[in-house]
Amino acid sequence: MFNLVQGRRKYFAFSGILIGLGIAAMIYSFITTGAAFPLGVDFRGGTRFEIQFEQPVEEKAIEDVFAQFDLTHNSIIALRGESLENAWQIRTKFVTPEQAQEITDALERELSPLKPDTTSVQSVSPSVGGEVTNAAFTAILVAAVVILVYIMLAFRQVPNSFRYGASAVAAMIHDLFVIFGFAALMGMLRGWEVDALFLTAVLTVAGFSLQDTIVVFDRIRENIVKRPFEKYETVVNRSILETIHRSLATQLNAMFVMVAILLFGGASIKPFIAVLFVGMLSGTYSSIFTAVPLLVSWEKGEIPFVKG
């Protein structure tokens, strides 16, 4: 039988490097911009304009119009993609709807007519932004605790049920770090922002990650009872191999849907789908190459400071 768990040190090293790179991206972003990833107006507060001109417009010209309203240090990004010619995204500090209207009127008057009905403006006051950030942290924390408890309950008949919960949560944290790193990277490269939808993606990835892990753990639970005389490592390895077809088939199906949305779906939702996609890949990887090998390492007493 092919031994998958034998190479666990390599897997841990690979995950370590991946997460390390992500953290490096976050630190770099933190040093240059003051935030680990570009925060959207949902969290930070402020106003975001998305406008499309009829004719090409210079970035400097847009900046000047905003400066007339005492709005400097804005982030101005040209949007790219299908049906996004001459489209720009401008982020400023919080302005009232009346001001926002005056600004778009001024843009239209001084630069170029706007494409009708394509303007979108989002404003969030800083106080609401702060609340959202707090709520987001709470949501992630609550999810982690609930999941830990849930797995411990589901696996209570298996010896050392706490290990299963802890390993599943470790795999989940692994996946979250992967997508945080991805968000930081894409923030630097493409100007993607972290918004309320990103948080939705985070929690959904947590769910995916867990789902994959549960399927493998579930098989371990079954095999332990069926083969009481086999070594733990062998039972675990067998369980991975028995479920790998399902993991791949499911992963493939999810990929079909997500690639379809990435290729043909609405532009505004692409970052969200991309994060889900990366998180899902990581979720399948981590359940096989992180959660289960962790169980074996734990059993063998290989984890420092943790008794086997």
């Binding site: 989002q122 969030v124 006051s125 309320a196 939808l197 929690l203 399902r246 290729l263 609405g266």
Partner: protein, 446 residues
């Protein structure tokens, strides 16, 4: 594998037919969210120091007043809800004049006392008043603007006094336990009002807010000294509400705008066409994959999956769920989980077949053993959706909530279609002829 399977097959067909009827029925349209049709979302907060309490009644009165105003804007599905203790969320999908809407929401309403002679008016009735002539907002049918001609204009009445003359109003309870509303006028107005009430005893002095009747009391006696009360069959609630409306005329609490989202209608149209295209392509590839990879059981799962999509659509229309881009994503992800459930079962069936079990046994074991995995992972997803729902509820992130709703509904429906429906299909179309099928390995994809 007995006759009960046929019974369930009939039940399944009836359920799917009902879902199909709902989906095609024009009575249940799809509710499109802001990002799919453009529109305006405004989150308002009580503009008072944070240590000053705001009562639920005040917020609810403010909500009702805003609701009345935006209803007059002619928006198809306006949404006005209180959120938390101090906030009101307003969503106006499809609106093309956001500035007018924003000023309308914040503007103060006009409270008037009108002379309706010997005739009491029903609550909610729309009237014109002499203080500002011409058509009024509440007369308009949805979609019309104030400049359109109105087929049957509302009757006009003489304005006696406006809310500006009213100093205060309060609900109170007499010895008999009846609730009433007492009010006090500014001293300058007291004499005029005393004269007026003396000359119009027995007639009705109707109170209107933004030209809509909120109460139509009868003048029982002259009101001297600027103090009077309105009695009637009030409940505590009604008395309080009337007092609030009298006292504040307009909004019982000042409101400030905390966040706005404005999405152009064209953007919405682009989003909807591209997400339909993406959804259909993704779905078709998944159906094809299941058919090619799992053959006959894959085909049965495909039928169940189409039923799954149909049922979901029916639920979205019945409840109704406001469809946004994230909500559609939630649905597609739950479709992925529905497929996953079938993959779990079919992989298990294949495994048992390779081990030498008969097809009959493999079917039984497949569904039986895969169930714990399906159950555990679906419960985990439901827990996640619940946390997302709570998170979304707290600050008006209706996008997050939409995702949580469709994900949860999808997971629940998938337990029905991917487990129960597929199992019934497999038992009938494969279990009955299992001996023959066993030899046709290509049909089983082993």
């Amino acid at each position: 594998m007995d006759n009960r399977d046929y019974f369930w097959l009939v039940v399944i067909i009836i359920i799917l037919a009902a879902a199909g009827w709902v989906v095609q029925s024009p009575k249940y349209p799809i509710v499109r969210g802001l990002d799919l049709q453009g529109g305006l979302q405004v989150l308002l907060e009580a503009d008072l120091p944070s240590d000053q309490a705001v009562t639920p009644e005040q917020m609810d009165t403010a909500r009702q007043i805003i609701d009345q105003r935006v209803n007059a804007l002619g928006v198809a599905e306006p949404l006005v809800v209180t959120e938390g203790e101090r906030r009101i969320l307003v969503e106006l999908p499809g609106i093309n004049n956001p500035d007018e809407a924003i000023s309308l929401i914040q503007e103060t309403a006009l409270l008037e006392f009108i002379d309706t002679g010997s005739q009491p008016l029903p609550e909610g009735m729309c009237v014109r008043t002499s203080s500002h002539e011409g058509p009024v907002r509440c007369e308009l049918e949805s979609g019309k603007t104030i400049t359109d001609t109105i087929a049957s204009p509302a009757p006009t009445f003489e304005t006696v006094m406006t809310g500006a003359s009213l100093r205060t109003a309060e609900s109170q309870r007499d010895q008999l336990g009846n609730y009433s509303v007492s009010f006090e006028l500014y001293p300058d107005e007291a004499d005029f009002f005393a004269d007026y009430t003396r000359n119009h005893q027995g007639q009705f002095l109707t109170i209107v807010l933004d030209n809509q009747v909120i109460s139509s009391p009868r003048i029982n006696s002259a009101i001297e000294g600027g103090r009077g009360s309105i009695t009637g069959q009030f409940t505590l609630e009604e008395a309080r509400k009337l007092a609030l409306q009298l006292r504040f005329g307009s909004l019982p609490v000042p409101l400030r705008i905390e966040s706005t989202r404005q999405i152009g209608a064209t953007l919405g149209e682009i989003s909807i066409s591209s997400s339909i295209r993406a959804g259909v392509i993704g779905f078709a590839v998944v159906l094809l994959f299941m058919l090619v990879y799992y053959r006959l059981p894959g085909f049965l799962a495909d039928v169940a999956l189409i039923g799954y999509a149909l049922l979901n659509m029916a639920f979205f229309m019945l409840i109704p769920i406001t469809l946004t881009l994230p909500a559609i994503t939630g649905f597609l992800i739950s479709a992925g989980m529905a497929v996953d459930a079938n993959i779990l079962v079919f992989e298990r069936m294949k495994e048992e077949l390779r081990r030498g079990s008969s097809l009959r046994e493999a079917i039984l074991t497949g569904f039986d053993r895969a169930w714990t995995s399906i159950r555990d992972s679906n419960i985990a997803t439901l827990v996640i959706s619940f946390i997302l729902w709570i998170f979304g509820r707290n600050f008006g992130a209706s996008t997050v909530q939409g995702f949580a709703y469709t994900l949860a509904i999808g997971v629940l429906i998938s337990m029905f279609t991917a487990v129960f429906v597929t199992r019934t299909f497999v038992r009938i179309f494969m279990g009955r002829s299992s001996a023959k099928l066993q030899k046709m390995k290509w049909l089983l994809g082993v």
